[in-house]
Symmetry: C2
């Protein structure tokens, strides 16, 4: 049955973190946690009476540092990351088609959606998809670093994500306009980057965005490859 | 079965607005919408494929203006307000014990929780309680205007809200510290205003807060008594 995650926001990087828990169990999963919100996120888990089972990353982020390693130290939860993201210290290395099991029969289906980065995964749970930077509300992630590919992103969005049931709720990793949630049905009909564009037109559009480098990229990417923990520690 | 609402935030007044919809139906209820987020809220309802059935207010707000009247004009949804809040243009005047029915068997139970204001209501839906300004996360609303009463607030929190099942999730009308949701269990054990204080001690605490008047009170209260619509229109 469809239910909603708990959605938390980081105003600095406009990142959404999600807490996912099924009814009738205290087991929870957190997706894309942000370093300086570690205490906030643990407080939510405590207030809700939950126990953290997994810490998931959709990809190696370039705009913020994860708290995954710290959350693992503090809670004993497992870290799970896409196999193609080069995060050696994570104990679960996810592949397309994997299923994460937790709580009382809860399952999260793992879907490889490359393009923003080569390893990027989306996660499907109870009528929701956590799309990371692959599909944003009325937009999509950039494709100009970390093995990004506009062609792969177009295929991930139009062939994989848009093949999910229309009513599936779309929860992105970021939003910059106060938008919280969308649906596959809506994005198929309205997404400003994809709708009405051929694969070639999409590639041309993405190749001409000329976005500045994320301010934190040289700090965030190496840190996130170590789950946000200090290197050599 | 427990599910979560969709929680939206107004950074100016730190107000939470909620969109509530059960699985298997397109009928939705919005709670405490804010005037300048009318378009944002309608966009969420459209993206989710929902149809607005009711617009609910927990009370007459002093810190922001509602979009209830405008949402009614634009969607045809019914406005429902606490009977004791003096909002004559609302077509549904709620009393303690009323039940709001919408969608495929969804019900919202209406619970009179006076204290922040005399008419204030809380709303119970699928294991959640929308507590307005009666119970905040680790706090509570002020009691020094609009028929407020510290004694009534203490009774509303400790006798009515704390009588809900422990696992009930608490969704407040405001938060000023990045906190999104709590539970009755947690607030009964930890709430900084109530826990460890007798009724008399709580009254003494609240009577000595000496908070400044809300900046918008002289605009917001008369506007909200007309559902946020211009008077004499």
């Amino acid at each position: 049955m469809q239910t909603n995650p708990i959605q938390l926001f980081d105003t600095e990087s406009s990142t959404y973190t999600y807490i996912v828990a099924g009814p009738g169990s205290d087991a929870a999963v957190i997706i894309d946690p942000v370093d300086h919100h570690c205490e906030r996120d643990l407080a939510h888990i405590a207030r809700l009476g939950l126990r953290l089972a997994y810490i998931l990353e959709t990809h190696v982020h370039a705009d913020h540092v994860t708290s995954a390693g710290r959350l693992r130290q503090l809670t004993g939860a497992h870290t799970a990351v896409p196999r193609g993201c080069d995060v050696p210290p994570a104990e679960v290395q996810l592949q397309d088609g994997d299923v994460i099991r937790f709580g009382d029969g809860e399952t999260i289906a793992v879907m490889h959606t490359p393009g923003h980065t080569a390893g990027h995964m989306s996660y499907v749970w109870r009528g929701n998809v956590f799309t990371g930077d692959t599909l944003l509300i009325d937009g999509c992630g950039r494709t100009d670093f970390q093995g990004g590919s506009s062609a792969a992103l177009y295929d991930s969005i139009t062939q994989k994500l848009f093949a999910l049931p229309d009513a599936t709720r779309v929860w992105p990793a970021h939003d910059y306009k106060g938008q919280a949630v969308s649906t596959i049905r809506w994005e198929k009909a309205h997404n400003a980057r994809v709708v009405g564009r051929s694969r070639e037109e999409f590639i041309a559009l993405m190749d001409n965005l000329h976005l500045p480098q994320p301010k934190l990229i040289d700090i965030a990417v190496p840190a996130n490859r170590n789950l946000g923990l200090p290197h050599g520690g």
